[in-house]
Symmetry: C2
Subunit: 168 residues, 2 copies
DNA sequence: ATTGCAATGTTATATTATTGCGTTTGTGTG
DNA sequence: CACACAAACGCAATAATATAACATTGCAAT
């Protein structure tokens, strides 16, 4: 077997092994600490804050401190394995494998849930328009505040955004 | 004359009076504290952090505390007069007047400068695609990490984003 | 063995933001 | 005017998020 003895499910270990291979291919190493942090994020359904993660990692490594988790997170974000949602100070695992265009992170204003959508066409258009204005994109995440389908179904408030979708 | 005795330039006071009128029209009031905070942001070229702002507002109001400035900022952001740049914890005045679609905030990874671009077509397309996925946009700011024209000119590093603009 | 380097351990502190509660201020009502 | 009500503000404390600084470890190349 290929996995280490971390307390994760088989599916999670498979994901972690794949991530490790990706890191290796990029000349980086997914150390045990980093692997544990990534595993915890993979297990979490909805993303975690740094100090939540710290509390959980302390169950595995009693001597963990803030730098322990922030360093691991910095690494994982650099490697594109994890995304940081700035407006929530929250970290979510990327479930799309490596991608070369920014993910579209729909952040629900009501319930806080985050979904990573991918739209290469739209992101390509964004990159072109940015470039036309003299900017070069260097972006892995685009956060979009919105109302998620569930919350919308619960109470479909009328926002100013309707104007944008009405045509014209 | 219409302006209060705040220590701002004539141009700034004109801006503030306009903002006050806008608030009034929306049933809100631009109180003296809020006016001062907005004026300070208007004077600042590059956006300010809350505690920088606090230091400046203390020059005008010695008893100001964090809630003083955070409350004013919450109000100004709600009114669409100020934008919060989440990844920098920074606040920038909106120099585009009221807008009904999200501004595109180009945040330079190298120098930290922020530019508010407007692209109604692109934002409309974003809103349509979000809606097609079941989401309703409720978004005033879209932050885009990028390299600004100045920094790009200084050293035009090759990023993965090139792939996006090359066609295909 | 020595040096160099990446990762980690450890302590402390910096930065950003909010809570709670009491007071003031403005506004309308009887 | 007396009263009630709500919005804004003053103030003290503290919560939540993130980084600095420096020591230590482990491994690999010389
Ligand atoms: Zn992703
Ligand atoms: Zn929701
Ligand atoms: Zn704006
Ligand atoms: Zn720049």
């Amino acid at each position: 077997m290929n996995s280490t003895a971390t307390p994760f499910s088989a599916a999670c270990n498979a994901f972690l092994d794949l991530a490790r291979a990706g890191c290796k291919a990029r000349g980086a190493q997914l150390t045990p600490i980093r692997r544990d942090v990534l595993g915890l994020l993979h297990n979490a359904e909805n993303g975690l804050k740094a100090y939540d993660l710290l509390a959980r990692i302390k169950a595995l490594r009693a001597n963990a401190t803030p730098p322990t988790v922030y360093r691991a997170l910095d690494f994982l974000v650099e490697q594109g394995l994890v995304h940081k949602i700035e407006r929530l100070n929250q970290f979510v695992v990327c479930r799309h494998g490596a991608h070369t265009f920014p993910g579209l992170f729909m952040v629900c204003r009501r319930c806080g849930k985050v979904s990573e959508l991918h739209d290469p066409d739209l992101m390509g258009e964004l990159a072109r328009r940015a470039q036309a204005a003299g900017y070069q994109l260097d972006c892995q995440e685009v956060e979009i505040a919105s109302i998620c389908p569930d919350c919308l179904h619960a109470s479909p408030a009328q926002g100013f955004e309707q104007m944008l979708t009405g045509g014209a």
